[in-house]
């Protein structure tokens, strides 16, 4: 029954190389703010489920934390998670991502705490506006005020704190 698709494999390899500029996120832990009801939470759940990159979601309804497992080698960026949560009518309170270390070594991802990343996989928090609570953003704007790129609020670069 199993068929082989040599051209597809080749195409896939080419595409993956092209996509290497992306962080190849394998897991996302999203904590949403501004809700306490399960119907509200379900709105976010359904938005996330509709993303083609998403393989599986588990939800802690008591903390409104969504643990999202992603398919391999997708080009998803943090922005997609933000748009999904906001479309449901809510906001991101914290976003923790897991990626291959090599894949976040590009100009889109700016590490704010200059930690060395020696393991193969890295877990990090996105610190930009819209990815943390308003209160945290105010604090971060003060502590990172020397970082021009942080205050510029460019939607396509992400300031990250390494957690592992």
């Amino acid at each position: 029954m199993k068929k082989s698709y040599p051209y597809l494999t080749l195409l896939a390899l080419v595409v993956f190389n092209f996509l290497n500029a992306n962080a190849q996120i394998s897991k996302a832990e999203i904590r949403a703010t501004g809700l306490t009801c399960s119907m509200c939470s379900n709105a976010i759940n359904k938005q996330l489920k509709a993303l083609p990159e998403v393989a599986n979601i588990t939800t802690d309804l008591n903390t409104n934390t969504f643990t999202v497992t992603l398919n391999e080698n997708t080009s998803i960026t943090p922005k997609t998670f933000k748009q999904s949560v906001e479309k449901a009518g809510f906001f991101i309170g914290s976003l923790l991502l897991t990626s291959k270390t090599s894949s976040i070594k590009n100009e889109k991802y700016i590490v704010v705490d200059a930690k060395t990343m020696d393991s193969e996989e890295v877990t990090y928090q996105v610190l930009d506006k819209g990815y943390v609570t308003d209160k945290e953003y105010k604090k971060l704007s003060k502590s990172l005020k020397k970082m021009g790129t942080y205050l510029a609020n460019n939607e396509d670069d992400f300031h990250i704190k390494i957690l592992n």
Partner: protein, 269 residues
């Protein structure tokens, strides 16, 4: 009645998780973007001046265009004049223009507008464009979720027109009014969530008032409600409306509400 009311208010003010999906008012939050909700609200109100009850059924469709803007269309069917007939309809839009959210809390503001048409006879001082008068209403609503208790309040301006040329608005009544609402909501069950399949039970108390601007005639009603949320997707509301004070002519102020509501998430990908 007063004792039940007091108990409901006390329940609402206890600490716990709350709800803002109120039965007779709308919160500042909208339905999710790209979602469609359908519901049928049924009302059974006791006639004050004559024997019997009048029954209204209002099918509604609500659409979330994006995170900030939603639309709703309503049809008004009632048996107030002998048999069950469609008397009119309504369009509603709400725009959320401010949100300040934190973990398990938020403060939100929204502006709304409603336009309704109705061909039934005009029979009372009260202006009610949900099923009685042709006219429009516009206002703002603020909703706060503090320590898991939801409180919502709105102020609006409502203006009545002729109910078609057959039923002109009487000159003896004031044709515009100020409306005000104050609502409280609380989730009673579950105490701790385990899944989306759990049925949630909410208790709400809403206060709804109106003053006719020209002559100062007013009323204030209280609406206690119980709500069941099933499978995190469907809603059943059961509410009772009781007039607390009134200085205006109202033909059927007291009665029950029964609302069935279902959400379709992600209409298109």
């Amino acid at each position: 009645m007063r004792k039940i009311l007091l108990m409901l208010i006390l329940l609402v003010f206890q600490k716990n998780i709350s709800q803002e999906l109120f039965t007779v008012t709308d919160p500042a939050s909208n339905v999710p973007g790209n979602s469609l909700a359908i519901n049928t609200m049924q009302l059974l109100f006791k006639e004050k001046l004559e024997p019997g009850y009048n029954y209204h059924i209002m099918p509604e469709v609500t659409y979330g265009l994006n995170k900030n803007l939603m639309f709703r269309a309503t049809a008004f069917v009632s048996n107030r004049n002998t048999s069950l007939v469609t008397e009119g309809g309504s369009f509603f839009a709400k725009y959320r223009f401010f949100s300040s959210d934190d973990l398990n809390s938020h403060f939100r503001l929204a502006a709304f507008g409603r336009y309704s048409f109705n061909n039934s006879d005009i029979h009372q001082d009260q202006i009610e464009i949900m099923g009685h008068n042709s006219g429009f209403e516009t206002g703002i609503v603020a909703t706060k979720l503090i320590k898991k208790v939801a409180i919502s309040s709105s102020v609006s301006f409502e203006k009545a027109f002729d109910n078609t040329s057959k039923n002109p608005f009487p000159n003896t009544y004031g044709d515009h009014a100020t409306n005000y609402t104050l609502s409280f909501g609380k989730l009673m069950y579950p105490k701790k969530y385990t899944s989306y399949k759990q049925t949630n039970i909410n208790v709400m108390v809403e206060f709804v008032g109106q003053t006719i601007n020209e002559n100062g005639k007013s009323y204030l009603d209280v609406v206690p409600a119980i709500q069941f949320i099933i499978n995190s997707q469907a809603r059943i509301d059961l509410a009772y409306k009781q007039e607390l004070v009134s200085s205006m002519l109202r033909t059927a102020p007291n009665g029950v509400y029964f609302n069935l509501y279902y959400t379709f998430f992600n209409l298109t990908k």
